[in-house]
Symmetry: C2
């Protein structure tokens, strides 16, 4: 196309990202060409750094540059509540709400029969529950098929322990209109109605 191969290579790499189409990748590549050399090496360094230095927290599997992540080691967090999520990005979403101040455990996946995943390695989680420091778990897996199966799986595995088990509330989202809500959610919200 009249442009140097290394330029097309970069566009190729950028269009691998989720949600980044060919056109966006082109715009990003043009933008990179116009950036200050210092900014470019900074960007390249940051990309390499996250992979080089970030590993799962030994306690909760959250992203961390230390053995124990900043959440697990924070003196400000409640140490007896554990929110179980599928992926580290779920932690980001929950932290943004400022409504939760306990600890997390990241499953790094979910039960997914379609992908042949019918079991999860939760030894680390069970050992932690067995140590009796956790009084409450809040199962916050996604409200989809795999997430619900994962929740059932966790409930079964955790029931033998002396711990209160909660599931995050599923219902109609704020700011929506009932007429537009899918009927599965609406039905679930009616079944799970809360006394006032």
């Amino acid at each position: 196309m009249g442009f140097p191969k290394i330029f097309h290579d970069l566009i190729e790499s950028l269009s691998q990202f989720p949600g980044v189409g060919r056109r966006s990748a082109e715009r990003m590549a043009f933008y990179i060409l116009k950036m200050q050399p210092k900014e470019v090496s900074e960007l390249a360094r940051r990309i390499e750094d996250v992979q080089k230095f970030i590993k799962p927290c030994a306690l909760c599997n959250n992203f961390s540059t230390e053995e124990i992540c900043s959440l697990c080691s924070s003196p400000k967090r409640e140490k007896d509540v554990l929110c179980i999520v599928e992926e580290p990005k779920d932690i980001m979403a929950i932290e943004k709400t400022s409504q939760y101040n306990g600890l997390y455990y990241v499953l790094l996946g979910s039960i997914s029969p379609l992908d042949g995943i019918e079991d999860l390695n939760i030894g680390k989680l069970l050992r932690r529950i067995a140590s009796n420091q956790i009084k409450e778990v809040i199962i916050s897996t996604d409200p989809d098929n795999d997430g619900e199966l994962t929740a059932q799986f966790l409930i079964q595995k955790l029931s033998p322990y002396k711990v209160k088990i909660y599931r995050i509330a599923i219902g109609i989202p704020l700011g929506t209109q009932i007429e537009y809500i899918d009927s599965a959610t609406l039905g679930k919200a009616l079944m799970d109605r809360k006394p006032v």
Copy 2:
């Protein structure tokens, strides 16, 4: 937010890109963490390479890793037609059409009174026209205010030379419905009607 600083730094860098919001930058950062280490260093290298090795072609200002770009040096291109565009990305768009086989000249900007740009350095272009190798120029600046002013500027500067001057056709785009076309374009298309 419970994630390592280097992770937030990366999100920060990625959200600088045009069209990349906070959420997309987060998704890209999560994706980078899951990439193979080899792919990550490849991506970082490609980002640095484009800036390190790409410079303007000495003849036409197009992106090039060589003194003269692949289009200017191609034996397959017509050497007496010159398409004048504002930016290298316009070359990419025109090349995709496969409807043009001449050479290019990139202005690297446009007349823009609002930005205080009322003149363009086109010495290199004029010397090339003066050398009498170009028989036709096609002014392909954007059909907006600045692009039209730039076209007028070029017409004035090029008129003294023995060269046929064209402006790329402006009119109603293919695949649209006349009722939805903005009236400026529609008016221009009527004025510029073509005999059949």
